[in-house]
């Protein structure tokens, strides 16, 4: 796979399509699996890791769907390319930063990725746009079944699929949705929502930023427990609660508009103006302004830009993307200028192009 060819594109999970895509950016499911006849990755020496990688690589690239897969040897990649894959959500930060034989198979549309020799021998991930957990599950289940036809995964009747970390044992499943919740953050209602989620054992992670509003109001909600419940029960646990959060966010947005439409419209228009005209801009500020613009589009206060364009900019304005785009390593100050230049150009191109 030529990573440079990806610079101009985005993964299908950023298309802004699918149910409730105004608030649910994407849905994701991953499964952790280990081969029964090898020690876990942290306990395997380089020779064994090499053997695990080549065995799993052959299996993964032999899958019926593999004609659309590209395999990347993560160990051989430049540091900037690894970071690029992290920004695109195709590999984890841990996979980028560790050492030794490891790789990843990625589908054309970037909705499937299979990491080899991450914390577990195999981490299968499916990502889709909008609220689409059933879609993710059907696809990942199919891949898992196909692999299981020729591989023996470590499994016990009592504890299920055995993983390197006891927090993943059982189903080995992590079900998550990426939510955009600007109105709940603005009104500080978000803490109530988080408290309610923790009581039912769901974890909240800020994906692009810190726990507060500084970094774009994007939050990842996922299951914490993996043992003692079936995959379907864990998926349903999220499916039951997510519509409530969506409703809550919509309700608060409506109230904001009703209470002070003029002020909100002004804030959003200013954010849009800054993104179109700034000469230098940090990634924090970019996230924050893009979050305002994204809400503005959903509230029909901005009518000449689409959600997919904003989703794309969230990823493409990150450091490794910019450096690959300009094809040179950039210092923070240079990056902030490059980011502003890229935003001016892309927004000019995509304005008026309705999605």
């Amino acid at each position: 796979m030529d990573l440079d060819s990806l610079i101009a594109t985005s993964g299908s999970w950023l298309q802004g399509t699918g149910p409730d895509a105004d608030i649910v950016v994407s849905s994701r499911i991953r499964l952790a699996r280990n081969l029964a006849r090898f020690p876990f990755v942290s306990r395997a020496d380089e020779e064994l890791r090499g053997e695990i990688e080549s065995l799993l690589r052959d299996e993964v690239m032999g899958l019926p769907t593999a004609s659309h897969f590209h395999y990347l040897d993560v160990e051989q990649l430049e540091q900037i390319d690894r970071q690029f894959l992290v920004e695109r959500q195709l590999i984890s930060r841990e996979h980028a930063e560790s050492s030794g034989s490891r790789g990843v198979a990625i589908s054309d549309e970037e909705h499937i990725s299979l990491m080899i020799n991450e914390e577990d021998h195999l981490r299968i991930q499916v990502l889709q746009s909008g609220l689409s957990l059933d879609g993710c599950w059907d696809l990942i289940q199919e891949i898992d079944d196909q692999l299981e036809a020729s591989l023996t995964f470590a499994f016990s009747e009592r504890l299920g699929y055995l993983t390197a970390c006891p927090t993943n044992v059982g189903t080995g499943i992590r079900v998550s949705v990426l939510l955009h919740l600007p109105a709940l953050v603005l009104t500080k209602e978000i803490n109530k929502a988080f408290n309610a989620l923790q009581k039912i054992n769901l974890a909240v992670r800020g994906l692009y930023g810190e726990g507060s509003q500084a970094m774009g109001d994007f939050y990842q909600i996922s299951n914490q427990i993996t043992l003692g419940k079936s995959e379907q029960q864990l998926i349903d646990g999220l499916k039951d609660v997510i519509p409530n959060i969506i409703r809550y966010e919509r309700k608060v947005r409506d109230e904001l508009v009703k209470k002070n439409r003029g002020e909100l419209h002004d804030q959003i228009s200013r954010a849009y103006g800054i993104l179109q005209n700034a000469q230098t801009i940090s990634s924090e500020e970019t996230m924050q302004r893009l979050s305002s613009v994204r809400m503005g589009i959903n509230l029909e206060l901005i009518d000449d830009l689409g959600i997919p364009a904003v989703n794309e900019l969230l990823i493409h304005t990150q450091p490794a993307h910019l450096q690959k785009l300009y094809n040179s390593p950039l210092e923070v100050r240079e990056r902030n200028e490059a980011r502003a230049k890229f935003l001016r150009r892309r927004l000019a191109e995509r304005r008026g192009e309705q999605n």
Binding site: A36, D144, E231
Partner: protein, 175 residues
């Protein structure tokens, strides 16, 4: 398993911060998260990365923690002490070897200790038979290192026999 960075409760909130485009990870419990939110307007400078979390273990019987720490898995060789400091197990057999210690821990994390999700198409027995290969290969490694060539040859034969019994050799034939 992560513990809260500021106290010892389990961390339920996992925060990724980006400041000056540096990434920091922070793991907090609910109470500390509230405090964190109150202070997040005024950043307190870059946070250190997570110190390696130690696993808290409830001791059963008369075994001391020191004795327990010395126990090692015969398959992969990991000691309980190593597991406690890294939070990662060494091989699938560790779940059997350290079962008494792990069950209360799993109960704490998941609230349950019985899997009721997907079952693999192959029986768990065939999974367990394969663990034996981990031990044989570790022993082979040690025999070679100790220049015990006779033992090494025997172990190599045992591996080949077991692999062929388990039907694992066909992949090599395909090449």
């Amino acid at each position: 398993m992560k513990k809260c960075r500021r106290c010892s409760k389990p961390a339920t909130l996992h925060i990724t911060e980006m400041r000056e485009e540096e990434v920091h990870e922070l793991h907090l419990c609910e109470t500390c998260y509230q405090e964190y939110l109150d202070y997040s307007e005024t950043p307190e400078g870059p946070l250190e990365s997570d110190p390696s979390p130690e696993i808290a273990i409830e001791l059963s019987g008369d075994q001391t923690l020191e004795e327990l720490d010395q126990t090692a898995c015969p398959n992969c060789g990991i000691s309980f002490r190593e597991f406690r400091s890294q939070g990662r197990l060494g091989c699938p057999h560790d779940y059997t070897e350290f079962e008494n210690e792990l069950l209360p821990l799993l109960e704490n994390i998941h609230g349950e200790t019985q899997h009721c999700g997907k079952l693999p198409t192959q029986a768990a027995d065939s999974s367990r038979q394969q663990y034996e290969l981990i031990k044989l290969r570790k022993d082979l490694h040690q025999a070679v290192a100790a220049e015990e060539y006779e033992a090494a040859a025997q172990l190599r034969d045992a591996i080949v026999t077991l692999e062929s019994d388990l039907g694992l050799t066909e992949h090599q034939d395909l090449d």
